[in-house]
């Protein structure tokens, strides 16, 4: 029998297997991404903060007693157990700790082990990309690389140039080379000692012919003690810095978000737009080095705004969809040339455009394509209750009058532009459509 101090060597297996567990949880989250990404706390929250996602602690399933139908005859109603202490039948001995009852969840989640897994938006994005099978989007994405003039730079050496660009060290090196070659020539020709040859060359300031003559003279004498090389420069030996314009290639993008804030755009429609735009911008941030975002709101007129007011902006009546697109075009012309930016125009509307200006809306779309934008995205945010003006809804107008293919993918209606027409229309009827829409957005953004 013995009492020993356990060796402090930790096996580390706990930590290792804890990682296995969290990896498994991550898989679980991935499965739930379509729901998670529309969570308001993410979209409206502080971007840098960690997002808490309640997930069920993983358990090994087994055959255990339970209740097949909640609230049914077999359901005794909530948790039950043994206890000990004062009290008679009917006395309360404690309360259920934690949050209040939510409809539909009453009693059901009790006793189940929920844990909050924390993720950053960045991590969620990575999971989304993994889930889409695009783990390394940066490499695959043929982002438009734009050359930017950033002054001039020295790129090498050349044999001629203005004196100000003389490269002294390179030139001196050439001069020393010439010194040694002259020294060898004199030695070969005259068969005199190296020191004599050096003295002659030095006396004649490096002129070869004169040195040969001098050394051949019968009265040649010198008091040099050792060979000290010096540069001998001819025009050929001068070396100059080569200069070039400095261009850096920079991949940058701008997202121009346009929101229809007309009277028919209610809170849920705006939320769909906001959630979609939030993830589009964050996904583009993964692709491009830098992403700028500009916000345009419109009703009968369009104006630039900032992010905060973009979603808050109050309804102002009528709808001229073209105004938002037109302002985006002007913004591109003035600030975001498509040869310098990958321009994404994301337009969100419930599609309730004025009949009289519909032609202008189409015209503005075509004009944006002509400007060379990377994509025009159109999110038709129209929950199910808005079916009645479906026929002249902007989505259907785009479907019939633009060069697009109309299709259904993973439960959402899509308009995908044909070759050289980078247009993507998505019908966002509910929050569950955000996920497939984003998948299409990522896929399509690479196909034109």
């Amino acid at each position: 029998m013995s009492i020993i101090i356990g060796n402090d060597k930790k096996t580390g297996s706990g930590t290792k297997d804890a990682r296995r567990h969290s990896d498994k949880q991550k898989e679980l989250i991935k499965e739930n991404l379509p729901r998670v990404i529309t969570d308001e706390s993410i979209i409206t929250g502080n971007k840098n903060k960690k997002i808490k996602i309640p997930i069920r602690s993983l358990e090994i399933p087994d055959f255990r007693p339970g209740v097949r139908h909640k609230g049914g005859r077999g359901d005794g109603g909530g948790e039950a157990g043994f206890g000990q202490g004062d009290g008679k039948k009917g006395d309360a001995v404690g309360k259920r700790p934690g949050k209040g009852q939510k409809p539909g969840s009453a009693g059901q989640e009790a006793g189940r082990d929920f844990i909050d897994a924390e993720f950053t938006v960045e991590e969620l994005i990575e999971m989304m990309l993994e889930d889409l099978g695009l783990p390394n989007i940066k490499e695959k994405q043929e982002a438009k690389n734009i050359l930017v003039k950033a002054g001039i730079k020295i790129t090498g050496v050349e044999n001629s140039g203005p004196w100000v660009l003389l490269n002294p060290s390179k030139t001196a090196k050439e001069g020393i080379k010439r010194f040694y070659s002259y020294l060898e020539i004199i030695k070969d020709e005259t068969k005199k000692s190296e020191l004599d040859c050096f003295a002659a060359l030095k006396k004649c300031n490096g002129y070869l012919d004169e040195a040969m003559e001098a050394i051949a003279a019968p009265d040649f004498s010198h008091d040099e003690m050792e060979v000290v090389p010096f540069p001998i420069l001819l025009d050929d030996d001068l070396r100059f810095h080569r200069l070039e314009d400095k261009n850096v290639s920079k991949s940058s993008a701008v997202v121009i978000g346009i929101l229809d804030r007309s009277g028919s755009m209610d809170k849920e429609k705006k939320y769909l737009a906001k959630a979609m735009l939030f993830w589009q911008v964050n996904l583009l941030r993964k692709i491009y080095g830098s992403v700028e975002i500009r916000f345009i709101v419109h009703d009968e007129e369009a104006c630039l705004t900032d992010e905060e007011n973009f979603f808050k902006s109050e309804s102002k009546g009528g709808t001229h969809c073209y105004t938002g697109l037109k302002l985006a075009g002007e913004l591109i012309d003035s600030t975001y040339h498509t040869d310098q930016y990958n321009v994404y125009v994301m337009y969100f509307s419930d599609g309730d455009d004025f009949d009289s200006t519909r032609a202008r809306t189409l015209e503005e779309v075509r004009s944006l394509v002509a400007r060379g934008v990377s994509m025009i995205g159109y999110g038709n945010v129209l929950p199910d209750d808005g079916l009645y003006y479906e026929s002249h809804n902007l989505f259907n107008v785009f479907a019939s009058l633009l060069p697009v293919d109309h299709s259904y993918v993973s439960g959402i209606e899509l308009l995908v532009g044909k070759k050289n027409f980078p247009f993507l229309g998505m019908k966002l009827r509910a929050r569950r459509h955000i996920w497939p829409a984003l998948q299409e957005f990522l896929k399509q953004s690479r196909s034109w």
Partner: protein, 518 residues
């Protein structure tokens, strides 16, 4: 703990062992290891000092560690394993007086391991400590050869059913051909007997024809028996899988399944004796602690702390049963009962409460009785016999249920039952099968297609969420459709006055789930 503490603890340890022996408790070579909290957490999560790698162990480690890091509590002060050479961990952050409590506590556990018939059996299942340690290395190798995912899945599937074991914990698994042979022999003997009858009437048959029908019926039964697997209901679900599933023919799969089966069989016995084991250890640590103080080995301050820790350990729980408390009080109760001769017909039949209250025949059988209980009983046996009405009232035991307060709308735990008979019966039932529903393999060749048919015949419904996933895991091992026959409480619509529930069959065929009436 510093060097002086350890030296002093060793000194106290010496005296504790003497006291243990003086009280006729059994001892054996036991290792005490003073460990870091992390090591203790690991031991809890892995169930043994070292065990194979799995995410579920990592989950428990993470959970315990998080609680410990945030609250500084949530880990046990000690743990002791029922190994061939018992091993105990003491956490190095324990204050000195706590470690002094732990010494006699652990020795009493060791005595319980050595004396109790259930735990002796549990220890004999396998060389569990070394097996678990070696399994770590082997399973790691399997992961390299077959992939982490595959090994993880096999472990998870095995754990899904590994607690469903033979109802007789002392039974050894018998080859089913042997069982079948025996059953057939019995049936053949019946046939022989009937064939040799001196006339049909001698066997109580109406006529020759009736006798022949009976013989034909038995012969047919024998033919069925020849093909039936399992010949008798098999409650050892994992054992059946190991014997019959093609996947278990792969050596590494068999090894994993057997390792997990052995571990759970070993732990099964701990689960059946938790109340008595903790009660016993608590019973002795408080006595020996008192004696150490009386002998001057503990200072009054240390003894004070000792008493405080003890009080925490046996604190009554409003929302659960603290086995330490119920256990120790139960032993005290049995001792007093038998010391005062409060047993037998005369006492039981006495109607005079005053006389009963003062009953004392000076029988002094208490010590003998508690040793008998500690030798032979499981928790369920002890509850059935000693959790008397008197005890339930004395300890104020009850059952609570969640209910909504009509005024505040809050969910409260309300005392729903305090009838000793109901409490005793419910507790016994829960203890008998470890709280698990009783499920057995009814047919391993269902419908002649090699499908697996399980039956859940005990009362109550199963949790449907877990049930589906459990069947999927079972399918993973069986690789053919699996069926589970269970109960479903009738809804209001199809409620009938004669029955409360109906039988349903839940099938998983590898792709989809189907639930139909049986």
């Amino acid at each position: 703990m510093n060097h002086n503490d350890i030296e002093r603890l060793k000194l106290i340890d010496k005296r504790v062992r003497e006291i243990i022996k003086e009280n006729n408790l059994l001892t054996t070579e036991t290792d005490f290891e003073i460990v870091e909290p992390e090591r203790m957490i690991e031991a809890m999560a892995y169930r043994f000092p070292s065990n194979f790698s799995h995410w579920s162990h990592g989950r428990d480690y993470d959970r315990l560690k998080t609680i410990y890091d945030n609250t500084g509590s949530g880990i046990p002060y000690e743990v002791v394993w029922n190994f061939e050479r018992p091993r105990a961990y003491l956490v190095n952050t324990n204050p000195f007086p706590l470690n002094v409590i732990i010494l006699p506590h652990v020795y009493a556990h060791v005595d319980f391991f050595l004396a109790n018939s259930f735990l002796r059996r549990g220890r004999a299942v396998a060389d569990i400590a070394n097996d678990a340690r070696r399994a770590r290395v082997r399973f790691h190798q399997y992961e390299q050869e077959h992939g982490v995912k595959v090994i993880e899945n096999i472990i998870e599937a095995a754990r899904t059913i590994s607690r469903h074991q033979d109802l007789d914990p002392f039974a050894e698994r018998i080859d089913e051909d042997l069982i079948r042979e025996q059953l057939i022999k019995v049936e053949q003997a019946k046939v022989e007997y009937l064939q040799n009858l001196n006339g049909a009437a001698a066997g109580g048959f109406k006529d020759r024809q009736e006798l022949e029908i009976e013989i034909a019926r038995i012969v047919y039964g024998i033919r069925l028996l020849e093909k039936k697997t399992p010949p008798l209901p098999d409650y050892d679900l994992l054992g059946y899988i190991i014997d019959h599933a093609p996947i278990a023919k792969k050596a590494y799969v068999e090894d994993i399944l057997k390792t997990i089966r052995d571990q759970d069989r070993h732990l099964f016995f701990n689960g059946r004796t938790k109340l008595l084991n903790e009660g016993w250890a608590t019973y002795w640590h408080v006595r020996i602690g008192r004696q150490l103080f009386a002998e001057g080995l503990l200072t009054p301050e240390e003894h004070g702390e000792f008493i405080t820790f003890h009080a925490q350990v046996i604190n009554a729980d409003r929302k659960g049963l603290n086995w330490y408390r119920i256990g120790v009080v139960l032993f005290e109760y049995i001792k007093e009962k038998y010391d005062k001769g409060r047993f037998g017909d005369e006492y039981e039949n006495c109607k005079d409460p005053v006389k009963k209250m003062n009953w004392d025949t000076k029988a002094m059988k208490g010590t003998e009785k508690i040793f008998q209980v500690h030798d032979m009983y499981s928790d369920a046996m002890a509850v059935r016999e000693f959790l008397t009405d008197e005890f339930v009232h004395q300890e104020q035991l009850y059952m609570w249920q969640e209910a909504t307060n009509p005024i505040t709308g809050e969910t409260e735990n309300v005392i729903a039952e305090d009838d000793p008979a109901v409490i005793r019966a419910t507790l016994c039932k829960r203890m008998a099968a470890g709280g698990l529903p009783v499920i057995y393999v009814d047919d391993g060749n269902y419908d002649g297609r090699g499908e697996l048919y399980l039956r859940h015949d005990s009362d109550g419904e199963l949790n449907p969420e877990y049930e589906g996933a459990a069947l999927e895991n079972l399918f993973y091992l069986w690789e053919k459709p699996v069926h589970l026959e269970t109960n479903e409480v009738l809804t209001d619509i199809d409620y009938s006055p004669t029955s409360f529930s109906k039988r349903i069959v839940h099938t998983f065929d590898g792709k989809k789930h189907k639930i139909v009436d049986a």
